[in-house]
Subunit: 424 residues, 2 copies
């Protein structure tokens, strides 16, 4: 039976040139996460359906997109659709964890949903969460981490910050009736996308009075620096918990990249306090590159526990980051630094290659005895920066003929000299 | 609905202390693979069942252990049980790949099999393969890579090498009838495990004549160095293809760690030439730590292609490597190098932490305002080597009180001095 050369819908292969870039991004993220004291954990792709379908987990919509399967014991299993539910389960199963527990997790998740551009059925989530810290220090730390991560990725970002409690306080003060607050949040969340006029129309359509709509938009569209905005809101709202949290957060972390946006809600999610979303300035990708917030009630509700599990998390979008970096830099097809071309010196070249590799140099070598021009062609096509041509003449001199593929310049160097050259 | 705190059978969580070690092993393997010119690819966990069930793929036994599922379009899908079948599909779907194509892949695979000690339903395979090279140079390169990988992991190994063609040549010369060669291979493959006497008994039980059994074991149990063994075999067998390949391989790579074992077969697998298996000397884990070989017919058969796809591959066992290293070294609970303890200096400590992190230091910090003794306790329990205590006095002097947790010694240092200290 011949293999049908097809991938399942929504699944992707990554060839080296894409995988190298993705690995580099993941490596940089890991390095930043670890510098902030977050440690890695790993959980399985397959979870029990009862875990994934817990009431407070993802909601009905996400469950429709869950891949389900059974094992030989006919147990009901599913592929995880996010890393937050498994994290809650992990916390519940490890009651001796030292709090605050700070973990990151970079793994694949699965959603059997419709396939649009940029949406896949298998994708990687890069999640950083801290559980066991009530104060704004957790948010401050994660925002600092976010800024450093994007800085090291070479992406200039704007981080929009808000607070769900504050949003409720604003709705309250503006006189939006309780029954209409949920729907109003979903509408004002679109302010940036559809504009003030459209939001006004939708709020009126919801049955809000003109006065309430006016007051609400007045609060949400206040101008000024972060401090000016909180000061203005304080004058209007008075002493409020959500507003105090925002003030405290800006007291702890101060950067021109962080912008207070009172209309940000991040949808109908489980967030209970701070929310934030990261956008790349000047990018053609207008969706967010990372986002997160505080979710103090989710873990206790999932675990049915009376214990407090205050938590804050952020998820980095590997897909938009990869797409953006692909546009900004030249693609590496290989990580090979030098390609060794033996001319009747194969056995000796194995030894030379080993010396280079022992010194940490990525050295590939012709193992199919191609001619020299075919080999140089290969080196060129693969974008390998150097070729090392080694014939009997070079062997006699204990040297290697190192060719800079960009300039075409050749140098006769010893292995030690090559190692030195690559150290720079 | 409260979440039931259970993992599916055969699935595991990895807490930081285990995940850190596993990540380190994977990182070292990746580094070695890349030094040998192998580049990473990624393929999805979910494949079409028709791909996974292709005739030459894994055989009926492995298909019984395949997790199956359907997407919303009712397509038949499965979770991959190895990385070789997806690699063959990848090669088939990318006809413009430059040959030889050298790739590595470190990813999760799934088998819904019985759970014994050390066997799981989700595990990671670390595969390195080269396709498009007929000669022994491919094997020589992969054996060199194997030795360097285990050397850098700090494990002293013995690599047993044989050749399936040679094994057939030996059976032929010993007078084993064609119809009984397959079964004989399975029996002699157990030589190391069950010993010479038992193998003799099983071969006789198979109906082999005493003369054939004697000749066969005579060939398989020859003593001496690798060169002495090949020389002796040459005298008995004459000029044979498999034997020539073994000779050529030992001409290219020469190490006291590589041992020619003429009875090694690696089961009833798809191997067509060289086979090898890696064992750790002095380990209580007697199973192999890595293994592989040449499989020249598998990819063309899978693809139903007339084109040649000669291939050699090796798979590293992350599980035995992890278990062995756990016994050999102290476990790291965190990657954090220094833990900052603010005493009424939280905001300033955020800035100090940022300076350290910018310099690449893994600096964690108390964000829940614990007392100093609770903090030092935490630092101790987590095995973090340094604590940085920062009160108003230290701030005034622009210094940090750095405590070496092992010796208890404290030093008043500037941030720059700490950075210097950690560079060593």
């Amino acid at each position: 039976m011949k293999m049908k050369l097809e991938l399942p819908r929504g699944m992707r292969d990554f060839c080296p040139e894409e995988k190298i870039l993705r690995d580099e991004i993941v490596g940089r993220l890991k390095s930043v996460f670890e510098r902030f004291g977050y440690n890695p954990i790993e959980t399985p792709v397959i979870e029990r359906q009862s875990v994934l379908a817990s009431k407070f987990a993802g909601g009905a919509e996400i469950l429709k997109e869950m891949f389900t399967l059974k094992d030989q014991g006919r147990r009901d299993l599913g592929l995880r659709y996010d890393l937050t539910v498994p994290f809650a389960r992990f916390v519940g199963m490890n009651p001796t964890l030292k709090m605050p527990f700070k973990r990151y997790q970079i793994e694949k998740v699965y959603r059997d949903g419709p396939i649009k551009s940029g949406r896949y059925r298998e994708f990687i989530q890069c999640d950083v969460d801290v559980v066991g810290c009530k104060g704004m220090t957790a948010e401050a730390e994660l925002l600092q981490l976010t800024l450093m991560a994007f800085n090291e990725l070479g992406l200039d970002v704007k981080v929009e910050v808000n607070n769900r409690k504050l949003l409720n306080e604003i709705l309250e003060t503006a006189g939006v009736p309780k029954a209409k607050q949920m729907d109003s949040i979903l509408i004002v969340d679109k302010l940036k996308k559809i504009g003030s006029k459209e939001v006004r129309k939708e709020l009126s359509g919801l049955g809000l009075q003109n006065k309430a709509v006016g007051a609400l938009l007045g609060f949400l569209e206040i101008a000024g620096t972060n401090t000016e905005k909180t000061r203005t809101l304080k004058e209007c709202l008075g002493e409020k918990e959500g507003l105090n949290e925002v003030e405290e957060l800006f007291r702890l972390i101060d950067s021109r990249k962080i912008v207070f946006n009172p209309s940000l809600a991040r949808g109908l999610s489980y967030y209970t306090g701070t929310v934030f979303e990261v956008f790349v300035r000047g990018s053609s990708i207008t969706s967010s590159f990372a986002g997160g917030g505080r979710y103090d009630s989710m873990i206790p509700e999932l675990l049915g526990s009376k214990q407090d599990y205050p938590a804050v998390g952020i998820s980095f979008g590997l897909e938009p980051i990869t797409e953006e970096l692909k546009l900004k830099r030249s693609i590496m097809k290989t990580k090979t630094q030098v390609y060794i071309i033996p001319i009747q010196t194969q056995k000796e070249c194995f030894a030379i290659a080993e010396q280079l590799r022992r010194k940490g140099i990525n050295a590939d070598m012709d193992i199919v005895s191609r001619g020299i021009s075919k080999n140089l062609n290969f080196v060129n096509t693969m974008g390998i920066p150097y070729a090392a041509i080694i014939g009997l003449k070079e062997l006699e001199k204990n040297k290697v003929n190192l060719r800079d593929m960009r300039s075409g310049k050749e140098e006769l160097l010893s292995v030690e000299q090559i190692v030195k050259k690559f150290e720079h």
